[in-house]
Amino acid sequence: MSRNGLNEMPNSRAEWLQQKHQDFKKQKRRWSSRVMAVRASLLVLFFFFWEAGVRLGWIDELLFSYPTKVLRQIWSDMASGSLWPHLGMTVGETAVGFVLGTLLGTLLAVIIWWSPFLSAVLDPYMVVFNSMPKVALGPIFIVMFGAGFTAIVITTLSITVIITTLVVYNSFCSVDPNLIKVVRSFGASRVQEFNKVILPASFPAIVSTLKVNVGMSWVGVIVGEFLVAKSGLGYLIIYGFQVFNFTLVMSSLLIIAAVATAMYQLVVYVEKLLLSRL
């Protein structure tokens, strides 16, 4: 249709625009349904080949188990109720480690922001501690806090706190100095400077460290459970490994994947909620 033609018929111009918009939406829908379809078939194929491979003898059943057996194991553990204490323990440890890690890390960031002197003093120590594999400290935590919940949470904190501190402190420092100049020109105190500018400006950065910390907390908890626990999903993995029950190992892995994803999605949802309120 030519431009002139469109101008002569204002009604059909609106229709034409609407038609275009419909086409555009349809194309977008088609694209996302294609993504979904391929995504789902990948998953189905994965399980199919796993199952078929084991049954046809291409893959060692003892080492990798197979999907229907794993699902049966999960189902029976759920039905008998023996899964729940382990799951509850691990989720509890992860949640505590995650919340405490984020809070302590942010608090530490506030303290070193407050005192540039302290920040300069502590800088090399933080770098060393951050680059060090904290999991190596596990045995020390076990000796200090006993084999159990506390030692596992502390292991998790050792992984999350410093990285949170570094990320949040960096976001405090990257706040536009001109925004600070604005409040200073009104004679703002350092507390006001923090409350009115630094904190709200770095709020998105703090919220996005939540996402990183979820993953970190899972690492800390599972490793902690490998080292000490008498219950928890990490313990089930180690136990299954020791008695050569790889169905138990695989089913624990599957549950961890599902629960960790759920937790991550929850944090993403909370993030959206918090940021939309700004």
Partner: protein
């Protein structure tokens, strides 16, 4: 009557790792109540440093600064400071941005709030109170920044190239608005600018600084006729072009000698 701004023998040195450099040396200046003074000069002459010192954001290495007879120790709500860009807080609504100064100084009464709403309306921003800065154009945002500065009712307004980041047309409109608003409120103002015609159009005195170190080179009085005409029309008055050329020539000299 006591001058609003009084600088006595102000010297300021910047201390860096490699060297200490003299930004301003032995500068004395007085600005009377209701005056609009512009500071111009080649880059590096210490214009912005001078403004920061008057605002109390920088403490001069030597010398005294007083505003309305009181020695400046730090920033005070009596002195408003407007920056090159609006620097509105993106997470606050327009009204909350405008109320920032009142909040920080603990003067946020219902009456002050209403005054700020009225002031926003005066600046053509009625109905935008609940919008966020990202939804406004550059000119509107700078007007909000002006309201934010004026809301605490400062007797002295410091303007650090507040129009330089705007489109030419918006800039001219805003010059008019600012000079008219300040005249009506009887606010004293000190403007830093690199735009000579802006300096002549809005002010009663133009102070030319020279660099290395920063000192007053020459003070130009703007004739009464240009002074009392709105900036947009002042540019067409006889006398304006002559003053502009005089200022320009002197600035060239200052720039060359300072190198």
């Amino acid at each position: 009557m006591l001058p609003v701004v009084q600088l006595k023998g102000v010297t300021h040195a910047y201390l860096g790792d490699r060297e200490a450099s003299l930004a301003i040396e032995d500068l004395s200046l007085e600005v009377e109540k209701g005056e609009f003074v512009s500071l111009v000069g080649p880059s590096g002459c210490g214009k912005t440093t001078l403004l920061s010192i008057i605002a109390g954001l920088l403490k001069p290495s030597l010398g005294e600064v007083s505003v309305s007879g009181r020695l400046i120790q730090g920033p005070s709500p009596e002195v408003g400071y407007m920056l090159q860009q609006d620097y509105l807080f993106p997470w606050r609504t327009i009204l909350d941005n405008a109320l920032l100064g009142l909040e920080l100084t603990g003067n946020l009464t219902a009456e002050a709030r209403q005054n700020t709403v009225d002031l926003l309306a005066d600046m053509g921003l009625a109905g935008k109170e609940k919008a966020y800065p990202a939804q406004l154009s550059g000119g509107m945002r700078q007007r909000v920044a002006l309201v934010r500065t004026l809301a605490t009712n400062p007797g002295l307004l410091l303007l650090d190239e507040p129009f330089s980041a705007l489109d030419y047309q918006i800039k001219l409109q805003l010059e008019d608005l600012v000079s008219e608003t300040l005249r009506r409120r009887g606010t004293t103002a000190v403007l830093v600018t690199h735009d000579l015609s802006e300096a002549i159009a809005v002010s009663s005195r133009v102070i030319l600084l020279q660099r290395n170190p920063g000192r007053i080179r020459k003070i130009f009085e703007v004739p009464e006729e240009i002074r009392s005409t709105p900036p947009l029309y002042a540019r067409d008055l006889p006398g304006f072009a002559e003053l502009f050329h005089e200022l320009w020539k002197e600035m060239e000299l200052a720039g060359r000698e300072g190198q």
